[in-house]
Every structure is written in C-alpha cells, then in structure tokens.
C-alpha cells in the first residue's frame, strides 16, 4: 500500500513538472502561434482580429507569466487545448479525439503482438540454444530489426499495394463504405491496417526477441533453474515457471515504456501509409507550425508515458514480490 502511494505521488509530481515545461518551452521559442497565424494570412488581418487570435491561443502578451500559467493549467484541466492552426478552425481536442483511436488501434495492437511474438521466440530460442531453428530465427529477426522501418514500410507498400495491388495503398478505411458500426466497415479497417501493422510487427519483434533471449540465457545459468532440474520437474515447467517467469521482468519494463509511446504513433509508418493517427497529425502540425496542436500532442504523449509507467510499476509489484517490500 505504501508502495502504491509512493508511486502515485511520483506520478503527480512528474506530471506537474512536465506540464510546466510544456508551458515554458513554447514561450521561450521565438515567435508565437498567433504570429504564425497572422503570417499565414499575409497581413490581411485587422488589429481586432489579431487580438482575438492571441486570446484564442492563450498567448496574451499583456498578461504576466504567472496569470498565463494559471490560465494554462485551468485550460488543461478542463481539456481545452485551443484551436488548431493547420486544421483551422477545428478545436485541438476534436482533432485528437479523432486521431487517437486510429493510433491506439494500429500501433497499440501491433506493439502487443510484436512483444508477444518476440518474447515467446526469445524464450524458445534461449531454451533450445543449440538447435538449428534458433540459428536460423535469430539472424533473420536481427536483420529485420536493424532495417529502418520507414524504408521497410515503403518497400512493402510498393510491393504489395502498388505492384501486386493486394492491399490498399493509403488510408485507414475505404471511403465508399457507409460510416457506422457494420461488418463491411470493420473488414475494411482491418484490411487497411494489415500492411502498416506488419511493418511495425516485423521490424519491432527482433528487439523483443533479443532482449528476452539475453535475459533468458542469464537466468538459465541461475541456481534455481538447476535446482528445478534436480527436482525432476518437466522441461515446460522449468522453462516457463522458473526461467521465463524471472527473465520477463526486465522485458516487461521495456514493454510498458513502449506502450506509453504508442500514443505518439508510429510517425513514419503513418506518414508512409497516410494513416490518420497521431503520428500523421503531428507531422502535419510540425509542417504548419501548429503550436497548439503540437503542444497538446506532446502533452498527451507525456501523460501516456507517465501513465504507462505508473501502471507498469503497479504490475511489476505483482510480478516481483521483492519490489513490494522494498527488499533486495
């Protein structure tokens, strides 16, 4: 219980620090979103309109920094992130609430799949270290893992979407199918997700595999594994209950971190496939100097990473009893 309280306090303090940095950074940069917006209209705005824009973006130079800060916190707590520049005049939270599900669905699911496959293969290849199948699997995944994933995305989209026309080239769903919850639409979404998901899964699995395999190999030389063997336990029990159960602990932290970063999207994959997720939106916002949108995205990424860490800490306590009591 004390552990949980400690984690919660840590979570709140870090979140506050990050929020504050998120507030200070844009104000230390030259220019402000209102100026960027004004530039976009090439001086065809009257002073009242400029003032209105400044207020809309929360950059009121007449107010002092403290008041701005209080204003900023207030707006974040109420979920008001202002108005987007690149998608003017849509409010930022509307854009985000549209993009987040796509990213969570695509990147989230592929990360979970990549982690599961990679970890399982890591366990197997470490357990059967001498076998030929391990000798084949490891170099292949190492090769796939070291390939730049945007390049791999371009490659498979050229091959399977452009040349062979097996899969759609861009987008997250077919525009010809009526919106709403129906089978045709779900099928279309899955169909569109296959190539981008494969890009992520194929390139990311190798990393999980190697981490897990390394952990496994070091755990396999631990005494409790030898002792389990001496107890005459079946191989499967030794492999999973004794070896993998311990070896997964470091991998698990990495997995939680990765889940946190899911919200930032797989930037380049989303760009290659024009997938309307956060990564794609972030790219657009950077191109258009869309400060409010960027700020909101960074804020979301930060909160997601912190939350993922927080949940990972709680889960870790369940997985590793030594963390709970703070011993060793």
């Amino acid at each position: 219980m004390k552990y949980v309280l400690k984690r919660i306090t840590f979570f709140i303090v870090t979140a506050w620090v990050a929020l504050t940095i998120n507030f200070i950074l844009p104000r230390m940069m030259p220019g402000n979103p209102a100026q960027a917006m004004i530039a976009k209209f090439h001086g065809r705005l009257n002073p009242q309109a400029i003032h209105a824009l400044k207020i809309a973006f929360g950059i009121d130079v007449q107010k002092n920094l403290l008041l701005q800060y209080i204003d900023y916190i207030k707006r974040i707590l109420t979920g008001d992130f202002g108005i987007s520049l690149s998608f003017f005049p849509s409010p930022v939270n509307q854009i985000l609430s549209y993009a987040i599900p796509w990213t969570l669905g695509l990147v989230g699911v592929s990360t979970v799949i990549a982690f599961s496959i990679g970890t399982l293969l890591g366990i197997r290849t470490a357990w059967r270290r001498e076998s030929t199948s391990s000798g084949i699997i490891i170099p292949i995944f190492l090769f796939l893992n070291s390939m730049p994933y945007f390049w791999f995305a371009l490659l498979i989209s050229y091959l399977f979407a452009f040349k062979l026309k097996w899969f759609p080239l861009v987008g997250a769903y077919s525009l010809n199918i009526p919106k709403g919850f129906n089978l045709a639409r779900i099928a279309s979404i899955l169909y569109h997700a296959i190539l981008p998901a494969c890009t992520i899964i194929i390139t990311a699995t190798g990393g999980w595999l190697l981490t897990m395999r390394n952990n496994m190999i070091s755990v396999l030389s631990d005494d409790y594994v030898a002792f389990a063997q001496a107890k005459g336990l079946p191989d499967k029990v030794i492999e999973y209950k004794y070896a993998a159960r311990n070896a997964i602990l470091p991998s698990f932290t990495g997995f939680a971190m990765a889940l946190g970063f899911v919200i930032s999207g797989a930037l380049l994959t989303e760009i290659v496939f024009s997938y309307p997720g956060i990564g794609y939106i972030l790219y657009q916002s950077v191109l258009n100097l869309d400060y409010p949108l960027m700020q909101a995205i960074f804020l979301f990424i930060m909160i997601a990473v912190l939350t993922a860490n927080f949940i990972a800490d709680l889960f870790y306590a369940l997985l590793d009893p030594r963390v709970r009591t703070g011993a060793e």
């Binding site: 409790y224 336990l233 159960r245 311990n246 009893p321």
Partner: protein, 327 residues
Amino acid sequence: MKTLLKVKDFNAGYVLTSQRIHAVKNVTFKLDNGEFLGIAGESGCGKSTLALGIAGLLNPPGEVFSGEVEFDGKNLLKMKNDSLRKLRWKEFSIVFQSSMNVLNPVIKIKSQMFDAIQYHTNMPSNHLEERAKELLELVNVSPKYLEAYPHQLSGGMKQRVVIAMALSLNPKLIIMDEPTTALDVVVQRNILQEIDKLRKKFGFSIIFITHDLSLLVEISDTIAIMYAGQIVEKAPSTKLYAKPLHPYSYGLMHSFPPLVGKRQRLHGIAGHPPDLTEDIEGCPFFERCTKRINGVCDKAKPSFIEIEPGHIVACHLYDEEGESSAK
C-alpha cells in the same frame, strides 16, 4: 547392509574449446543404505563435479567422460532423460552448494514445495499443504513461511527449507554439496545435527560434500578424501581421524585447530593443487608432499591399498604393507 550406490571408474570434467579439464578421475566407491559418506577436499578438487555427475546434472560444458553409476540396481548414466527425471527427487535428491539462490525469487515457497511433490506423486492438493507444513516442522521452520517469498527468509531458513524440500518424497539418497558453506558455524552445526537426526529417523543415505573436514569427522560414517579429482583415501571416520594415512589427509587434519588442549601452531599445506588440464604422471600430490619418495612417487601412479578392512589409501608409502597383507 545393502549397497545403494556403486560408482565405478567415474571420469568427468569440462570440455572447453581450447582445453579439456579432467576434474574427476577414476573415482570408485560404494555407498550402503543409510550410510553417511563425507567427501572432503580443497576447492577445485572435483567434489562438486562428482556430485553433479552422479546425479546426471552436469550441464555443458560439463560432461561425464566414462564410468558407471549404479543406483539401486539401475545404471543412471545409461538412462533416458524421461526415466531419469522420474527418478529424481523421488529416489535421490540434491541440495546445492549455493542453496541461498536455489529458490525461485518470484514464487512463493509453498508453490516451490508443491510442484515437485505434485509432479512425482498424485497427491491431492489438500494433502499437499499438510505435507509441506509437516516438512517445514521437521526442519524447525514455522509453517507460516509457506506463504512467504524467498527474500523474506534468512539464509539459514532458506537452507532449512531446501533441506525440507529434499526430504519431501522420502528419497533413498540425498546428495549435499556444501550445503552449509554460506552459513556461520553455529547455524552450520545446528543444521548438520538436524540432518543427522532426520537420517536416523528416515534411514536415507547421504553423500555430504565439504571442504571442511572438521565438520565431517563428527558426523559421517565414512570419509573419502579427494585430491585433484581422485579419491586418495577412504576410511571410517573414526579411523581416519585417529590415523590419517595419506600425507594429504594428514595435512587437512592438521589445518584446523582443536577446540580443547594446548595452543599449537597450525600447519597448512604448502603449494597449490595441480593443473587439471594436463595428465599427471605419478601421484598428483607429489609436488606438495612432505614425505615424497623421489623416483617413485613422480613416476608411477599409486594404486589403492587396503590397510585395514574399510581403510584404503593410494600412496606409495604403504606399498610394502600392501604387499605383505596381500601375502
């Protein structure tokens, strides 16, 4: 007494890419039902390799080169993995050198005690709990620790838990490889006495491996002294204590202080054990021996001579006695 374990011409060691370490050389001994055999020798003399080799637990790069291990009429070295697995723990169990780390750190003691019992017998789960409690009480650990994780136990308690686990299926043999090394002497003695009490109660045999000869003298029936992978002397412990024949045994016996009597200067054994990657011509102890016979000990390997019934030694000093008794 019926013979439980026969080890004959046992050779084992480690195969590395550049060299081959011959850690156990031609070890032959017998163990009776209910016997307590102590194997003593300094670090690196092949004691642990012998123990693991007998139990079939020598993992690569470790390897058994040749020999026979006959346990209860079955040749362990020729057995298939699956049948050997069924024998393990049920027929013979092993307590490791590093007992502090043999418990899985993230799983409750309870579950680790249960799994071996469950796999080897079909004990219903409500009996498991009772059995585990009973076992912990045998080794003087409160049954409440069944719900604990290994890190919540002290070193001595972990050791006791491991011993309780080794007893769980009433094996015929328990191999103990320096089980008390990491503990302080008071706890060591305590645990040893408990082990001995349990042995008398349940009648299992023990192979007890240690570098601490003083521990063995008191408790074991028979002691074998190992040097450079070979057994150099084997005798009932009272005889070995009263009259160690091999110069190495003599050296070991005189390297720990007596508890009573006059203060005296201790004598260690000068020098280091030989390199096990090379074949040794003659007696392996030659280099360090104070009573060596030049021209004999460095040329010919001493063979075993039975000085008295049950007291055998491999040393050229006793060649003549051996001949005369042979006549």
